[in-house]
């Protein structure tokens, strides 16, 4: 089952950041273009206005009319920016004294010596005109003098265009810079999420510790929910295992009583048929007791795997003690149980209880599924940083069953019909090894029988 895919956070973030950068770049371009046009127009208007005022002020009244002496410098200056064209007109009252008599007049007469600006089409071009008025006494009568000076604004357009182009280039650079920056920002922002996801994803199947990775405030609710979920799961599992352990324990005690009673009955009974029944009863009680023991083992393994309290364990002594414990059982079938080498100190990193449970189940299986008068050999060795324990028997083998099948709970091999078993033994071995970071393999041995291999990390030197 896969979760429905929502669009990637990273892509959404990058796309939104880039869209923002693009909007900013366009705004920058528009703002620069607008203000460049305003600024250059204001500057050129100031020059045009000053020139027009100067021209108006230089006009004098004389006998019979006004005297005008235009200054070439003024026109040169007004034309300087961008080789502008210059038009002018001087009106006295309603009559045009000189200049271009078709140059458009302002809509209203401007206030004295305050230039009025307007743009208008004239001839084949567009001109910006400054109009300045002043009064002049001609023949002892006041008259209104109106001076218009117009210039084309090719230079201003060129400057505004140039600035706008530069602004466009800056906008483009800003946008291009925003690409790696937004990628970087998205990565940075998403890193805690990635870290959390990795921390959760790295966990083994039985790791039910709460998530403690550093979490940004926005993700705290998610982690709290996850941890509470984990805690509930843990509680449920613990309850289950506890229940199984309790149940096994409570079954074992009456079974022991039952076995004692059956043995006493066997002792006192003289009827052969009754004795045979009692012996079968004792065997069934033994099987039940073993199953209950394995259930308890399994619950222990799961619990301890969960707790993870590794320590340093010496394998040689542990193996020797186990062999001594199993020797009576083996001798009942005339089997030999040997440890090779007989005495060795091999320190590993693990949990003694788990290792003991795994070994106990392996040896138990080896004895159970081997014919009488055969040998079971336990070998200890150190190989490439690992302690390797091999348990080899001359039994019936696993008949080609796959390890995963055999290590599943309550699954048994295809060739064990006549032997009592719970199907939990190899499960316990496998889970114990997995809990300690070790390895478990089960192979057909050369000749006949089975070779089970456990490996565990050696104690750090």
């Amino acid at each position: 089952m896969t979760a429905r895919r929502a669009p990637s956070l990273r892509r959404r973030l990058v796309v939104q950041l880039l869209a923002l950068a693009a909007v900013l770049a366009v705004l920058l371009f528009a703002a620069v273009r607008f203000s460049a046009e305003r600024a250059s127009e204001a500057t050129l208007d100031a020059i045009l206005g000053a020139a027009t005022i100067a021209m108006a002020e230089e006009i004098r009244s004389a006998e019979g009319g006004a005297v005008i002496d235009l200054s070439p410098g003024t026109f040169s200056m007004l034309a300087a920016m961008g080789d502008e064209r210059i038009f002018y007109r001087v009106n006295l009252g309603a009559a045009t004294l000189t200049g271009y008599d078709d140059l458009p007049l302002p809509e209203a007469v401007p206030a004295a010596l305050a230039p009025m600006f307007y743009s208008t089409p004239y001839r084949d071009t567009q001109v910006r005109i400054a109009a300045v008025s002043r009064s002049l006494r001609i023949d002892n009568r006041p008259a209104t003098l109106l001076v218009l000076v117009g210039q084309t604004r090719a230079g201003q357009s060129a400057i505004a265009q140039g600035l706008a182009n530069r602004a466009a280039a800056v906008g483009l650079v800003v946008f291009l810079l925003a690409v790696p920056l937004s990628l970087l920002a998205a990565d940075n922002l998403l890193r805690p999420i990635a870290r959390l996801a990795a921390a959760v994803g790295r966990r083994g199947p039985h790791d039910l510790r709460p998530v403690r990775a550093a979490t940004p405030a926005e993700l705290v609710p998610l982690v709290v929910a996850l941890n509470s979920f984990i805690a509930r799961l843990r509680g449920t599992l613990a309850q289950t295992e506890t229940f199984i352990a309790e149940a096994a324990h409570h079954i074992r005690t009456p079974l022991a009583v039952m076995r004692t009673e059956a043995e006493m009955a066997l002792h006192h009974s003289g009827d052969e048929a009754t004795r045979a029944r009692l012996r079968r009863l004792i065997r069934a009680v033994d099987d039940s007791a073993r199953s209950a023991g394995q259930l308890l083992d399994h619950a222990t393994v799961l619990y301890r795997a969960d707790q993870q309290t590794p320590a340093e364990v010496e394998l040689g002594a542990l193996a020797l003690a186990l062999i001594e414990r199993f020797r009576p059982t083996a001798e009942m079938k005339d089997m030999r149980l040997t440890l090779v080498p007989a005495a060795v100190a091999l320190w590993v990193h693990g949990d003694a209880v788990l290792i003991e449970a795994a070994l106990r189940n392996l040896i138990d299986n080896a004895i159970k599924y081997s014919p009488a008068e055969t040998e079971v050999t336990l070998t200890l060795a150190a190989q490439a940083g690992q302690a390797v324990i091999r348990c080899r028997d001359h039994g019936r083998g696993v008949a080609g069953a796959r390890l995963e099948a055999l290590t599943s709970r309550f699954q048994r091999g295809p060739n064990v019909g006549d032997v009592a078993g719970s199907g939990l033994g190899l499960t316990i071995v496998s889970e114990a090894m997995a809990a300690m970071g070790g390895d478990f393999a089960l192979d057909a041995a050369e000749g006949e029988g089975t070779c089970a291999t456990l490996s565990l990390p050696l104690r750090a030197a």
Partner: protein, 361 residues
Amino acid sequence: MRHAVAALARRLSAAAVVLGLALPTIAPAFEIEAEQRFGPAGAGARIEVLSTTDIAIFAPVIEGFLRRNPALGVHYVVASSQEIYQAIATEGAAFDLVISSAMDLQMKLANDGLARALPPDQIAGAGAGASLPDWAHWRDLVFAVAQEPVVLLLSPQALAGGLAAPRSRRDLIALLRDHPERFRGRIGSYDPVISGAGYLFAVQDARMSDSFWRLAEVMGRLDLKLYCCSGDMIADIRAGRLLLAYNVLGSYALAGRDAGAEGAPAVIELEDFTLTLLRTALVPQSAPDPTAGVQLLGFLLSPEGQRLIGEAAGLPPIDAEAFAAHPHLRPIRLDPGLLAHLDRMTRARFLGEWQAAMDQP
């Protein structure tokens, strides 16, 4: 004084008629001084050229152009600068290229939107666009094809008796003041009232230096003879009727000296400043075949055209280094500043002052 005012009024009205400003609507067809057709009789396209430059001077350049473009013909028409201005500005005369020594009138044609913008690649393609100095063109409308110093001509007899040749206007004023008997009635200059070039030189002189007005007064006191054209002044010097001619276009003066006669005048570039006129060309909006006009203009600006203008026509070609190498040379600025003195009231005021300087008691 009464006499002076009457004379001024007479001259001003004459100038107004010539400029066509007073009576623009009844302007007659302009007056042609000379014309000539170049190229094969059955030429496919004939480029109409209107120019102030004499046919004899410009013919080698036209012939050079036609050698490159044998299928074309050129109709070369000579008129005075004011006739040319009037023809283009008010009559919309059909010419493909207008070449004139009157920078101010050319400038006014361009400023008033009567000149056609030249495609930059065509000018650059002719090989001159990139190297054309900024002062030698205005926008893509007016282009200088020759730069001519405005000089002082001195007859050999003027310095008889071991006088030193004047090197500046101050020297010239001193020379004239010290020898009034020698120079009275024997100095000449353009009449700014009737000659566009003369008016242009006078206003530029007046802009450059105050010594112009002192010189004008001195010359006025010595009965300055006024001429319409450089050619007449040169002829009078050679004939011994004039000792000194002020503000003569250098190319004409040099062409006269090249004739190499006995009385050939000395050509003096005054060192305080010597105005340099740009002979400019433009393609009018009214051109019937502007492409042809552009083609001829491109040739004039090209290295080959410039070489012909310099060597065959005797007009100094455009030289970007000239003003750096000769600091006394002052180019007349080709920009709308030229329009100020074309203003009729400004002109009237200037000519009034000029007349006052001439009519000394």
